[in-house]
Symmetry: C2
Subunit: 350 residues, 2 copies
Amino acid sequence: MKMSDRKKRILQIVVDEYINSAVPVSSKAITEKHLTDVSSATVRNELASLEELGYLTQFHTSGGRVPSPQAYRFYIEELMQRGNLSAADLDYISSAFSDKTADVEHLIKSVANVISELTDYTSVAAMPNAEEERIRNMTLLPCGDGRALLVIVTGSRILRDSFIDLPDTMSDEDVANASHMLCRLFCGKALSEARTVEAEALGEFGQYRQVMTEVIEALKSYARPRDEDIVLAGPEKIFNHPEYEDIGNVKNFLSVISSKDKIAEIVGDEDDEIQINVKIGSADGKDMPEDCSLVTATYSAGGKNLGTYGVIGPIRMDYSKVIAVLENVGKALEELIGGKNKDKKEKDDE
Amino acid sequence: MKMSDRKKRILQIVVDEYINSAVPVSSKAITEKHLTDVSSATVRNELASLEELGYLTQFHTSGGRVPSPQAYRFYIEELMQRGNLSAADLDYISSAFSDKTADVEHLIKSVANVISELTDYTSVAAMPNAEEERIRNMTLLPCGDGRALLVIVTGSRILRDSFIDLPDTMSDEDVANASHMLCRLFCGKALSEARTVEAEALGEFGQYRQVMTEVIEALKSYARPRDEDIVLAGPEKIFNHPEYEDIGNVKNFLSVISSKDKIAEIVGDEDDEIQINVKIGSADGKDMPEDCSLVTATYSAGGKNLGTYGVIGPIRMDYSKVIAVLENVGKALEELIGGKNKDKKEKDDE
DNA sequence: CGTTAGCACTTGTGGTTGATGAGTGCTAAC
DNA sequence: GTTAGCACTCATCAACCACAAGTGCTAACG
């Protein structure tokens, strides 16, 4: 059945109103505030019909109507007015990223914070997979106690938490040589390609095979996703939304939120081609809490994949605001990163 | 007024019982379960007296008694039985730290997790101040785009989040030379001493003063405490305790917990000489939530300061268990770190 | 004089009841 | 197709009740 324009309009009003007030909306409220030219009885008929179509539900026969997940989906696709951000919000975004020159790890944190602050929801961020990043430089840094720190820099991040045990016979010069050799072998390759030169590498290292074995082990470990690849910001923000007055909901939400594995699972299977991605309720994601919604966007700028960012919150979410924030943050990053690469030459004159 | 032995015994029973059950304890419960040789009326008299002394309070005249903060303090100092951990718990501790060879940053996370898991409370951990750490090695690692990564290794951690902008005229060899110079200048010095060689350093760098200025800036920034120096584990654990059925308490707790600054303030002003430190309620720490308690211990092993660890939770906390866990974790770390330094020579034979 | 039994008093808890108000569905008239 | 009117359904709230738990006090006891 095709929906009439009036049905759409009414559905839009119901969703808007409910997002704003968190109170089930009644026919009377609709005619008083928005559709002043028809009576509440007419609206009631339409509401009953929308309910039959699966867009609305009511808890009790006398409790007003609430949008169903299906209604939110339709709302986001067709009904929602894509609002723009206030000047203050735009200022906040542009000032937040002004002097960030650092790596993805830092970027991700500040982006997550900005998103959480502006939307008033808990935000999640996932680093891009490291596997395809090209190694730009690497070194072994001796640091006493017979150990050396393996540091690897790729296009967008720093990997550096492996200590490598050194044989007693290895002098600092030996380490420096090994370091150069590593660089020659791996620089320019993606992490995922490391294994292709594994045999060659072991051969070249001869005497210090053991060291090389550990380095290769470390390289492999970086390709696997780690807990630190997921960042959360503003978990306490959920208290600002009335659905989380109930302790059970909070508990549920927090337990999902505090397991990085679960978050990774929810955020992880993004389709990279879609800019904005909305998951509503447990229907869209197995590990999602029943009554939660996740809106994410995958950013890239200047050829770099900058990760996936989003907010997680109640189904009754201010999608318009959230999507506007995600889009504008994306634009700001594009300007910052994309711009920086081009500005490079002029910059040194300052 | 000196407390009689019986008063002490009764107070101990009340606190024990309340810690276990979270229910105000009545005179009847005491005589039934513990003091079977006197009547409830006698206990009532004693309870009334203990209340006058400030150790107990009652919400309502017919609601049983609850220990006051003062009672908890007395309990911890004199009454509490210092229990030992179960074999399973001890196993858990020793297996958790078996193959951690990494830096303090990683150690702190796994320690915080272990403490949180074993005690069932939210745990907090603060890294030791970096200022007095001696630099073991440092390097500038060129990574394209006219930038280099500054990596510094100290006795117990890795500092590496500064990118340094390089002049276009600086070749990779120049960077390598600069790197060696940095090492010669700073290795063996504490971070706090960096400024003492500032003038000398700037002199030596001549042509590349700008780079040196940035390096010094970075060194200074490391001496300041950062958000990452505070780690939390198991925030969702509070839901396992009945005082946090109330949404208001949860909110309050979470808002303190999610501000690293506040945590730093609470945990920060530890007296290093005291092994175990207990703060009860807002009386002991300005930023502490009214009805919360913080138990911390500062660990060091093999001459290294390993940071301050603790749990934060309701006043009605299982102090005996918490303190036992903190002590045993401390012992395990001592063995692990202290032992490793000594084993060093034998180890390479394996 | 410490201990105890007995009893009146206080107060949270849980269940019932009834009034109120919001909101709907239905029907009949426009 | 729209509307007014009305009966019906429920959630909410306050009042009220009985009940159980626990205390404080008093008087008696050894």
